[in-house]
Symmetry: C3
Subunit: 186 residues, 3 copies
């Protein structure tokens, strides 16, 4: 009987997975990102312009802090007024859609990729992430593949969400659990 251990040498990218741009464009993005976007220098304007140039949909007044990383700008949409904090990492093999008035705080990590652990070839699985308007992913928090963070929901400092978060609810912990309701004062 064959040993049931996975064989990563047998890994192949799934037939339905595309990188969305030619390798040369991806390489160019890697250079542009390293030099300008994830650099330590402040300023949102050039980050917005470069992400847009590579296909991201960036709303008005979006704030992009130093050290931000984006895997595929062409799979990123950010709504008006939203903020992406220092060293936030949007690892978007699959689309990441961030609504208006959202905050992704410093050091947060949005992860759209996983692997099929039951498959011998450890097949890649990619799932989009959605932040509905007014959601907040706090500093150093982690969001997993396929997660939707509901309207106005909050994922607390250093927390880990691998399931959807209900609207207007504050979550904390790893795994993230609901701890209170959120309401905006009139």
């Amino acid at each position: 009987m064959a040993d049931p251990v996975p064989d990563l040498g047998a890994y192949r990218p799934p037939a339905d997975f595309t990188r969305g741009r030619p390798a040369l464009v991806e390489l160019l993005w890697i250079l542009v990102e390293a030099i300008f976007v994830s650099s330590f220098l402040p300023g949102s304007w050039h980050r917005r312009a470069l992400l847009s140039l590579f296909g991201a949909k960036i709303g008005a007044k979006v704030v992009l802090k130093p050290g931000v990383r984006v895997k595929f700008p062409w799979r990123l949409a950010i709504g008006d007024n939203s903020w992406i904090g220092e060293r936030a990492w949007i690892d978007n093999l699959a689309p990441v859609t961030i609504g208006a008035d959202c905050c992704v705080s410093q050091g947060a990590y949005l992860c759209t990729g996983s692997h099929d652990w039951s498959a011998r070839g450890f097949d890649l699985i990619t799932r989009p992430i959605t932040l509905e308007p007014g959601a907040w992913v706090a500093a150093r928090a982690v969001v997993g593949p396929g997660v939707t963070i509901g309207r106005g929901a909050v994922l607390g400092l250093g927390s880990v969400a691998t399931r959807d978060l209900d609207a207007w609810t504050v979550y904390a912990g790893a795994p993230a659990l609901p701890i209170k309701q959120r309401a905006i004062a009139p």
Copy 2:
């Protein structure tokens, strides 16, 4: 009825929040930090000197490892003999006070900033962090705004503290829970 969603376009820094130094000094610090303090090159001496030059109070024999980041050196005090590990990030919009004989291990994150999620303008909230003498924030741990880590307390590897930690107590998990008492052998 108005939509209750937050409006980050309405965000203004609070009237009682100051950055503590002119913008030009802050920009100069950003450059100095990137080139010398958070660089990969070893050595505590130049890190101590530069942080002190920008207003930090750094005790004798403080060890500062490569990759360390400090938001506002003028809001940092570190007591004698304490260690700040590789890539530790002191995000001190509010003062961070680290007592003597403390250890902040590699990749730890001290977060002094939050937001009022009940306010339409997502108002900034800043709260100081204090490590009392002999405290240890272990690697990749996260400490939230307003937290005091009691004398000799330990926050374990990768743990997240959003509340005060009692003296001489070891905490682990996210959220951090007390798991045992600490005592120094005579």
Copy 3:
């Protein structure tokens, strides 16, 4: 009575701890790592070659992504087909042994060092980490000193393991708890 607080000024590296190479070699590695290994540029070939040159045992077809960090290459062994993801950090004061067909995903942190919190001098403790074949440490997960991750075990996204993980078991959370069994489909 003397104050029981730790005295980090009294810290000395343990008599049985060696760095494994002369200081000049370690310094050279720090330079080579910063410039080539932990750089943003893609490609496994040069990372494999440089780690091997400094004493790592790297199997066939090992994938090493940008941003990877290794403390002491001479205390690292990676088996055939294994992958080390972007910005994974192998902090191997003690040996780290990664079996064949393992995956250490992006942003994961393997920590082999701790301190004796009951010792006044905060003595360094180092313990090896072992990943048995087919194990997967998912993105942003943290593994503590002395941990063995059993054959085919999975440590989920952002989870923290400070104890051994059983073979063919999936763990999640901080601290990591078993949540299901893993089986490879025939």
